[in-house]
Amino acid sequence: MDQEIKFLMEKYKKGELTPEEEKKLETLIGQGKLALEDFEDLQGLSDRLDDDLLLEPPSTLDHKFYQSIHTIGKPKAGVLKITRWMAGVAASILVLVGFGVSMLINQSNAKVHQLTGEMKAMREMMMLSMLEQKSPSDRLKAVSLTADMPEVSDQIAEALLYRVNHDRSDNVRIASIEALRPYAQNARVREGLINAIQHQHSPLVLMSLAETLTSIGEKPTLEGFQGQMNKQIPQEILKELETGLKEIL
């Protein structure tokens, strides 16, 4: 296959591909056996696209946006008038006063409840989007947003557990473990943290996991951690880690 790719690439460079060979080349691209990066003639263009495709939006875009969200945020005048009118009727009919007032309170509470829900969903969405950022500091910021959340949804808990197990940065992993600590009453979080042991290689992350699990009353065995202490960890650190874990566990 390598020979075939080499042959096709040579012909491509010379511009001598037959329609069948061109099709074959595209099949190889589709299969992922050839990537854009393999085509030297397209590299310059590819770099140019990376640099020059992004356009600077005009300042009027910001102005229009902030104006529109404030308009959306404001309560509608019509609704307010009806509410006042209803309150007036309720006040004039004594029998209905109590009923009317309780209706208004409920309505107001429902509105607050709805907006609180929307705000929570929006914050969660923002956090999930920030967790996808390339920069570890952005992901750390996203993790820190959970500190303001009275409770985390299953979706957020799953996203944090994913970070604990798969994030490239140990700092993000540790921050995610810390962020999950207050929600350890959630069975899925507890289970996720216990299972996370097997995905760790960093002594610091292992220590943080051990501390968190102990603090929430889940005392894992030292053996469970020892399995993860692979040979890549230097002996001195390994000894310190063992001592630390013994103290914690």
């Binding site: 356009l55 229009k64 705000m119």
Partner: protein, 175 residues
């Protein structure tokens, strides 16, 4: 209640600041109309505010956002507006201030030349190329969004690149 509302607008503002540039670029390249691009970006964020609960966290947020963006654009054209076939307004003056040094002017011209070449691609090719190159979206996510398989997206990007290369080489004088 005001605090609650403020909380929501704060969150949407952060998302706006983060994604306005790539959304604006997407719409500007796709519609060839920078004024329309502004309106469409705004419509995307209004929809994000209205339908934020529909984002379940499955898959990337960017892919979800661009699914909304594509729907916003499709709705705009469904209402009868016609898509421009070629860029009419130059982007040059938006990129820098008026007192550009010579090198910046050259760089602007180079960009402008590239943007005009992109506008000559078929809509399908332009879209797939912009989604992959501009937004650094994964082939997998673009495939899901465009209801294609991953291999088709890869081939389409390759074809778009080749065609763009050809346009740039052959139309240097006429652009």
């Amino acid at each position: 209640m005001v605090q609650v509302q403020n909380g929501q607008t704060d969150a949407i503002s952060i998302l706006f600041e983060r994604y306005k540039k790539i959304l604006y670029s997407f719409f500007a390249h796709m519609t060839q109309d920078r004024f329309l691009a502004e309106d469409l970006v705004q419509n995307v964020f209004i929809r994000v505010m209205r339908y934020n609960k529909q984002f379940k966290g499955e898959g990337s947020f960017k892919a979800w956002l661009f699914t909304i963006a594509r729907n916003v654009m499709a709705d705009h054209y469904r209402r009868g507006a016609k898509m421009r076939t070629e860029m009419i307004d130059s982007y040059t003056h938006e990129l820098h201030g008026e007192s550009n040094p010579y090198e910046e002017i050259l760089a602007d011209e180079r960009k402008n030349f590239l943007h005009k070449a992109i506008s000559r691609l078929d809509e399908d090719k332009r879209e797939v190329l912009i989604l992959v190159k501009l937004h650094e979206m994964k082939y997998k996510d673009v495939a899901k969004m465009l209801l294609m398989n991953e291999s088709t997206v890869k081939v389409k990007v390759f074809r778009a690149m080749k065609e763009l290369q050809k346009i740039l080489q052959t139309s240097k004088q006429s652009l």
